[in-house]
Symmetry: C2
Subunit: 435 residues, 2 copies
């Protein structure tokens, strides 16, 4: 068998693949990992703060005592013992048995990313509409794009999603003869916007969704990472039906074990399990038993306090540096928890066009376009403060401030030279670990 070339198979690709192409900024992220670059791009949790020796001992004992089943297959829904611990964690987030949260309705997934993917498989046909905040989590946009769905963004402000904007978006979609299937939302410590949906908006948003027969897909990875106070109770704690609730151990324990979950109404849960079995057979048994043991035998609430204190200090360092080093006209959000600050540049600037110059100045961020499905976001960028220590954060923000200043002075001298038009976001703009 010779004479065929790789491109011979291009005509065999599925329809959904034709939108997939690697983006030009992707290559920049590999440069961002060089030690001389301060990366404010990545969303990696600071796992070095975990009690590694104790975890090592715990895992060794687990393998000794129950290695044979831990290293074998399990059921597609995930192990019952872990689903019980997940309910304990969700109760801490405000979603407990009093609102019908039960281990039986939990499905364990390969990070909450897979939960997003499973929801897309169960609910999305090509051409369906998904409503999502503007901006929105890049990993979710990737899922909706792979499902060939259309994302319609809904305006946010410092209090999160704007209810009136949601009403308008629903009406506009209906007027175009299409129908939105669900609202995807990150109400607490939003990625990338760093804002939290205000208490007084929560019932209102639920009421709008119910009235329009719209599912709510509530993603809550940062709910336990509030610095001054807990965020308002999740949407799922206010509505038993109509809300699919996603969680993850990536931020409260370890991203590298890739475990998340979905809490779904019973009938939906069945479909999710079948879709997951078709996708991965079952989540990793070994990792599930590690998480079960961690949450039953180790002081995870104290560890959460360690993480909160650590990230609070880094947020403070970032906000102080922004105040000290950003030129006039740059605005940013003030996150009460989570990992991210969202910057808005003066309008003439293009964060994507600026990226090579930032890398050259040894600082990296994620351009705002990654967080929009429609190519907008050029005047925004996301900074992550979760991984670098405070002094590095300060140095990174200082470098970035300098880059923006130079950009502004170039613009005032020569006028706007940024890229013309707004290219649509392409799949794979932002690699995982950055997401």
């Amino acid at each position: 068998m010779s004479g065929t070339t790789l491109d011979d198979y291009t005509d065999l690709y599925a329809q959904r693949v034709h939108g997939m192409k690697a983006s030009e900024i992707r290559a920049l992220f590999s440069v961002a990992n060089r030690p001389e670059v301060v990366s404010l791009a990545g969303g990696s949790p600071y796992t070095a703060a975990l009690p590694l020796d104790a975890i090592g001992e715990m895992v060794a004992e687990l393998i000794q005592r129950e290695g044979a089943p831990a290293l074998n297959y399990c059921v597609g829904q995930g192990e019952a013992a872990l689903r019980e611990q997940i309910c304990a964690v969700m109760a801490e987030e405000g979603v407990d048995a009093s609102v019908g949260a039960s281990p039986d309705d939990v499905v364990v997934t390969t990070g909450s990313q897979q939960a997003l993917d499973l929801v897309a498989r169960v609910f999305l046909d090509p051409g369906d509409v998904v409503l999502a905040e503007a901006p929105s989590y890049v990993g979710a946009l990737g899922v909706f794009q792979a499902a060939e769905a259309d994302v319609v963004h809904v305006q946010m402000d410092d209090d999160g999603l704007v209810p009136e904007a949601l009403e308008e978006a629903i009406a506009a979609v209906a007027a175009s003869g299409r129908r939105a299937k669900f609202l995807y939302t990150v109400p607490a410590f939003h990625n990338p916007a760093g804002v939290t949906l205000a208490e007084e908006r929560r019932e209102r948003i639920l009421e709008i969704c119910q009235r329009h027969h719209l599912l709510v897909l509530e993603d809550n990875p940062y709910g336990l990472l509030g610095f001054e106070e807990q965020p308002p109770a999740p949407l799922r704690s206010r509505a038993r039906d109509g809300v699919l609730y996603l969680g993850t151990f990536s931020k409260t324990f370890a991203a590298g074990i890739r475990l998340g979950w979905i809490l779904a109404p019973h009938a939906v849960r069945d479909k999710i399990v079948m879709a997951s079995e078709a996708s991965i057979l079952c989540p990793p048994t070994f990792n599930q038993r590690i998480a079960t043991r961690y949450f039953t035998t180790m002081p995870w609430r104290e560890q959460l306090k360690v993480f909160r204190e650590l990230y609070r200090e880094r947020r403070d360092a970032t906000l102080a540096a922004l105040t000290d080093f950003m030129p006039d006209g740059v605005r940013w959000t003030h996150p009460g928890g989570g990992f991210y600050v969202w910057l808005t540049l003066p309008e003439a600037l293009d964060s994507k066009a600026m990226m090579p110059r930032a890398i050259n100045a040894r600082v990296a961020y994620v351009p705002g376009t990654g967080f929009y499905a429609d190519g907008s976001g050029t005047s925004h960028l996301r900074l992550s403060y979760c991984f670098p220590p405070p002094e590095r954060l300060r140095e990174g923000v200082r470098r970035l401030g300098h880059v923006i200043e130079e950009e502004l002075s170039l613009r005032s001298t020569f006028g706007a030279t940024g890229s013309a038009g707004a290219p649509r976001r392409v799949a794979g703009d932002v690699p995982p670990g950055i997401a």
Copy 2:
């Protein structure tokens, strides 16, 4: 938000979900796990044969030395060090650098199940045709069904896939105005058929696929588990292009870490990585480092010998028991490796209808219908010899022989009373761990 009921959201489901329903035999498998039942149904590897203490120590040291990165995100393609080890394992299977196998073209997946799923996403549109052996791996059928593709089965015999039948199937698909995108095949120690594609057929099959511009999806989970001899060299070792090659650590190391891979032509590999990132962000870093360390520091080739010897003994016990206890008219395959024996019952019998009576007699198997997309397979069943010890296997086969005898005597007294017609296979017929 009240007044909504769970079923209110049924009209929101995607098209692909409407074919999903839990099957009646699924419930029987939970009964099959009771200790009094000899389960010849499950495909779980015998992980108790692993050196658990040594693995425990290895993992504890790994967490101590590199816990922080091991518990964090990694790149979507999977870590470079593991991809190198995967190449070492593939070389053992006959796919090495001389035929262009390179770590750069490997993508690490959540078991080879996810690799199947990713191939389906990259290549299958609804209504596309996939050719697959008759019978075929149940997990693959689940993936193709979820992708809304049509599976056309191709006849096998004791030497594996029949080349003439492949030609005929391709012609029949073309005559129906459709086009097959790929051939899915398990050439070595087939699941469930227990047969191996003969050396003299391999070039022929490749030539047919090349001539018809058909991709080959070669799944090789059992290639290193040959009892008397290695299987003939994989198709991928005979063709650099046109073959996507799947592998897994589930049978050579541990199923519970859920790690597999795909080796794909470079252009295809890019699409696979992007599809995987949209699905799970990245495979579990922690598990990847465990596998890397296992395959670089521990005697994995010796462990493979342990597994081969163990499974050979179990196969021998099963074949001997079949000879001793099966009534006339029952036929079975003679696997040279892997986990499975495929039984053919006298035509009047229906393995699915017989299943409750078998469970009642405290023996479980997988009815043949699970391995066909078209509802055929009623006169077949699969026995797995990988998990129970030899004396349990013998007892299980004895019980099964008795059930079949009773079934035959009922049939000769009252005539056929099996289920009428051939219902199509439904998703979720067979749960993971059974697959």
